[in-house]
Symmetry: C2
Subunit: 312 residues, 2 copies
């Protein structure tokens, strides 16, 4: 049983042919060129899927489902992308439009939900009853999985943990609100915190890095080398991240918390302080909580999760 998974991003469209166990046997990609009319983007989504099939030496008749992770909100009932801010899409009839090119059942969901689903089906949170994935990138994406299904909530808007209020009245968020969790736990937040720390440490090695080249890895690398400003910034960052995780545990107590996205590439350097601080800050001191783990599927999560959406 094979299916196609499409990871629709603001920059690239990636598609892969995926087995029912979540193994990618071939993949292809092309640029999204998001400014084009949506019809052309959908046509390319179909073509890149056919490219991947050709590379796998598989005919379209061997494919029983197609799945898409969209950077926005998808209405499953009507098969419509309600909106994708990055692509400028509003009410795009994705299911109907794709059917003209590849006539198999189409499933779609928000990309962070898809990544969480991928980890729960074929990654670190496999066989865990409920899990929460946080992708620590430009913002904080998130997806909640319960009993092998994406928890989309009652109106399809659940899983926006990045916009949980974390410090009411705090940093201005792009969403219009102040103090959203992603202002404190994203890669963007780590960079901001590091810049502030650099002001207090004139000898910091980060002082010489031009602002446009500063990223999460720069800060992590400097902290690993013992740069005081970077260490202090990373410590503040992991405190915020841990407190937000504790919030999520206090609200819905997932069986596992999975960290993905750019900052998670810091590996154990991130995991060790986060696990320690979550344990220290948890509410019920005497009771166990879900473990914090690193995502294992990396960039393939989008393709794998999308390809397996037919299971939901």
């Amino acid at each position: 049983m094979l299916s196609i998974g499409i990871d629709l991003g603001g920059t690239n469209i990636a598609a892969g042919v995926v087995t029912s166990e979540g193994k990618v046997i071939a993949q292809a990609q092309r640029p999204t060129l998001a400014q084009r009319p949506w019809q052309q983007v959908v046509e390319d989504m179909a073509e890149v899927s056919l490219d991947a099939l050709a590379m796998a030496g598989v005919g379209v008749e061997q494919v029983h489902a197609i799945g898409v992770g969209v950077p926005g909100n998808y209405d499953r009932k009507n098969g419509v992308v309600v909106f994708c801010t990055n692509l400028g899409w509003h009410n795009v009839p994705l299911r109907e439009a794709m059917r003209r090119y590849i006539d198999v059942p189409l499933y779609a969901d928000n990309d962070a939900n898809v990544a969480a689903f991928a980890e729960a089906m074929a990654g670190v949170s496999r066989n865990v009853y409920s899990s929460l994935l946080l992708t620590l990138g430009t913002g904080v994406g998130s997806g909640i999985i319960v009993d092998g299904k994406i928890w989309s909530g009652s109106h399809g808007v659940a899983g926006e943990v990045g916009h949980m209020i974390y410090r009411a009245g705090g940093e201005q968020c792009t969403c219009g609100q102040r103090g959203c969790f992603e202002r404190y736990a994203s890669a963007t937040a780590l960079i901001r915190i590091a810049r502030e720390a650099t002001m207090r440490y004139p000898d910091s090695e980060m002082k010489s890095i031009p602002p446009e080249r500063m990223n999460a890895k720069t800060v992590v690398d400097a902290a690993r080398r013992g740069d005081e400003a970077a260490m202090e910034a990373f410590d503040e960052y992991t405190t915020h991240l841990s407190l937000g995780i504790v919030s999520c545990i206090n609200v819905f107590d997932p069986g596992m918390i999975v960290l993905g996205g750019g900052v998670s590439r810091a590996g154990d350097f991130l995991l060790e302080p986060v696990r320690r601080k979550v344990e220290k800050q948890k509410f019920f001191k005497a009771l166990p909580i879900g473990g914090v783990e690193l995502a294992t599927l990396g960039n393939d999560a989008g393709i794998i999760g999308a390809a397996l959406l037919h299971r939901t």
Copy 2:
């Protein structure tokens, strides 16, 4: 089909005989006297249940289940109250102990979960797939219901929305953390905010109220009468409450948010600004969200929810 519901509080034990539709046909109560050994409290829980049965003219053989709402954490698998801070209970074998007096299956859960369950079975959130109850009292209790079941999370610690971090680094909470939601959305928080406002308004009518007599109703009544300090305080309070509700919506998007507890007695005076602010502050402006409603079962929620726990 009748069952017994017991609401075990720090001050009183209340028990009721309840129909399968959630109607209380008789109830009785006696003081908890929480300092006693737990064995004596359990004996009184049984006796007050028998009192309620006698008042209803019903024999114990007509009762098929007994349910208990405990102000703490209950381990369903082992039938043990893991802890009840107010009662000083630790690892109390409630199921086994009650069986000596009334030998029917016993169910128990945290009291806020039980109240949420009551509203979902027989109150305002009946027939709603998922709901969140917030009880606005000394603290903020909460319970999450999904598909007619209490969502207890993976380790039985879900539904502590009062200890969601709302303003990291903010007000000190009794739990040891800073900035928990209940420090901004409980009746206690409303009183604190009103006191602070009174400092800025020397003419406030609240100025003459002795601190020990100040409560949520005092503030609400003064605000209704147009007292500026009280109006400002209540406005700040509803902003906090609404933002916290928006956080919950962004995380798990319940079908309905139900408000109970002391502050909810303000009725529409509370509901109108909260609904307006939640709508204004929501993340997905174009998508619908769950409605905010008042709990309808009042003080009986604890008995009704406990009595119906056998359905979970």
